[in-house]
Symmetry: C2
Subunit: 415 residues, 2 copies
């Protein structure tokens, strides 16, 4: 794609997503749905104007990384730790339940092979942390206990997803699971998770130190964008496709750096406030690109809508995928309404589910019908859950505390 | 260039320019010199790690456009109008003097052909508004009368440069000047200059109106980045290479939109303050890319340093190029120290001079020796003028008012 086309595509994405988000809000619909719909409209599903090219996808990844960084900056580590044990339960439940029930439904009811059923189960384990967090943010709920539990759960859950993806991919390519390869993946991920918080802490101290000395403005945005570039580049270099499902998984890991990095920077409220004020405008430019790209990836035209199999498949797995995430949320000790809110927030599969489905198709494990059915399931979970969550908070969720006023005034101040 | 390399190059540019700028400031050297030197070090002159690819150059153009927008936002239209008549004199003087003296020196003293001499004169007319504004900004002088005069002069001067470039290019390609083609260029530029301020006013009103209604954050950065993308795309589409010296000239015009656009947004101080606060972090990321790219384009290796001709050529034209810009500044009515400051500020030829020189080489009008000599002249004007200006203000410029405290506190507040 030449520069000329790229500029035009980026322009169309920014303007359409903004217009659609404004329209969505007018109709009491979460803004993120407007941005997802912008992608569906512009993409192969409807107009076919824009395909998610490598460059657009890269910008989208920068968008989700920066959004997670922003969430991290706004997150108090103590709250996250308070929610920690419950996050772990929700994550484990929300990972195992969909995996097992997806496998059972696929293998015993639909009669697929074990590999296909495992891949279906795997795709259903995903949680699109981006969409979840964005909806909770749009509803001013991200700083509530349920927001913290979901945040923690989505992070843990995603890691298990990456490991499962690596194992399944290994299996689908070589026909068996090599202990050496799998342990290499595990070692890599483990190392990353041990080193990332240390690096995050170290860099956050370094930035504050240099910031005190420097006379030239712009240190904060330049450092953070440089780190994003560094991780994107590392994901390209290290993210060996034969091991980790490639670039996507590499970047999934880099997301895991920016959330704790943000949390590490949160320790000093004033400094965190300055970072937020400077980074927010950049986040606002990049994050819609991510949500549009998710919409672009949902190709509704590939689906044969007249096939009864697809409808039966999609509806069965949709019900299972919702029930299974709910079951995970039901395991914790909390008010029933809070547990329902958490269950709803864990439902969207978004781009992570799509990566699984795409891998299933590209390796030939999913035929077109199964792939199309999975796309419908992922689309339904992604598009319906924000509505459900909004409706739930408006009509039922009244026993949950009102949003924390301090955080609202912060995020409004820089608008 | 693949994504992988691009990410790495961008990372290296951001980090090196920052480190060099910090070092420069420690040694009492203007920060912009550090960024220019980063380009010289990374580029073909020294390490040869990074070549100014199309994408990097595009980001650089976005950087200079955003920097001019920032300058516009900070500029009071009344001050600019107050300085208007003097700006016009400085611009006309600073355009005609180098053109005539460059031609005379080339044609009569060095014995070049009329076309070569015209091209040399043309290259000497350029003023690198970016470097000038940045140095005045680094020295906190951009809001003084001389800053406003230089700003106005550089804008007018650049337009004359684009027209001259178009005419010379036309001449060099077709061997004559077609009245039809030249009037097409003039009409296009005239139309642009009539419509740009109207569009700027209209869009600025629109943004303020939508901003009052919108509940979703990020309107300001998204609108402004969308406009930058729109103009960059238009420059690609409309900037017919055979007429306007291509993309570069097209973008040179779009710069002319963003300065008045910023000025139009300045009318309401509070709103302007909010825009500045949100756009500054983005400006700080992109603008160093511009200055690094200027450094990257100065290929010192192409110069045969042992050739006596090049030294004679470079020194003669350097003296003439400095004297001629000074002569322009001397024509206005102001204190002698203010006139010297204006003269110094008009000296850097920067990227605009390089575009002329490059065009001279690519059309075969300049041989390698003349081209190399011109690169030295441009490099000297670009690299020495910031030092001279800083030294002048520190040691001589004491009759010029102290910087306006209100503006300083504004620009420091968002650091």
């Amino acid at each position: 794609m030449d520069t000329h086309t790229f500029l035009l595509h980026l322009l169309i994405i920014l303007i359409t997503s903004r217009v659609m988000a404004e329209i969505a809000v007018r109709f009491q619909v979460p803004a993120v749905i407007g941005e997802l719909m912008a992608g569906v409209i512009l993409g192969p599903s409807l107009l076919g104007w824009i395909e998610p090219s490598t460059t657009i996808q890269l910008l989208a990844e920068v968008g989700i990384i920066l959004l997670l960084f922003k969430v991290g900056i706004e997150t108090d580590i103590r709250r996250l730790i308070d929610a920690g044990r419950q996050s772990l339960i929700v994550a484990l439940g929300g990972f195992l339940m969909p995996l097992i029930s997806g496998f059972v439904l696929g293998y015993w009811v639909f009669g697929f092979t074990a590999l296909v059923s495992m891949f279906i189960g795997g795709a259903l384990t995903a949680t699109s942390i981006g969409i979840t967090i964005r909806v909770l943010g749009d509803l001013n709920r991200q700083h509530e206990l349920e927001g913290q539990i979901v945040l923690g759960a989505a992070v843990i859950d995603d890691v298990m997803g990456v490991i499962l993806l690596a194992v399944l991919y290994e299996f689908s390519v070589s026909g068996g699971v090599s202990v050496i390869n799998v342990s290499r993946v595990l070692t890599f991920i483990l190392l990353f998770f041990l080193l990332a918080p240390i690096a995050a802490k170290f860099i956050s101290l370094l930035i504050r130190r240099i910031d005190n000395y420097s006379d030239i403005p712009g240190l904060i945005p330049i450092t953070i964008i440089s780190l994003v570039l560094l991780f994107a580049w590392l994901a390209h270099v290290v993210g060996a496709p034969e091991l980790l499902g490639g670039f996507a998984a590499g970047l999934a890991l880099s997301r895991r750096f920016f959330l704790p990095f943000g949390v590490a920077l949160h320790t000093d409220r004033r400094f965190a406030g300055r970072i937020e004020m400077q980074m927010n405008p950049i986040v606002y430019i990049f994050s819609p690109i991510f949500f549009v790209t998710v919409g672009l990836s949902l190709n509704m035209r590939e689906i044969d809508w007249s096939s009864p199999f697809i409808w039966v498949f999609a509806l069965s797995f949709f019900v299972v995928s919702v029930m299974a995430k709910f079951a995970g949320a039901m395991l914790i000790k909390a008010g029933i309404r809070q547990r329902i809110a958490i269950g709803l927030a864990m439902v969207p599969r978004g781009e992570v589910g799509l990566i699984f489905a795409e891998l299933g198709r590209s390796t030939g494990i999913f035929n077109m019908e199964v792939y199309a059915g999975m796309v419908i399931v992922i689309a339904l979970t992604t598009l319906l859950s924000p509505f459900a969550l909004k409706w739930f908070y408006a009509h039922v969720g009244s026993d949950v505390d009102s949003p924390d006023a301090r955080y609202i005034s912060d995020s409004q101040a820089i608008r």
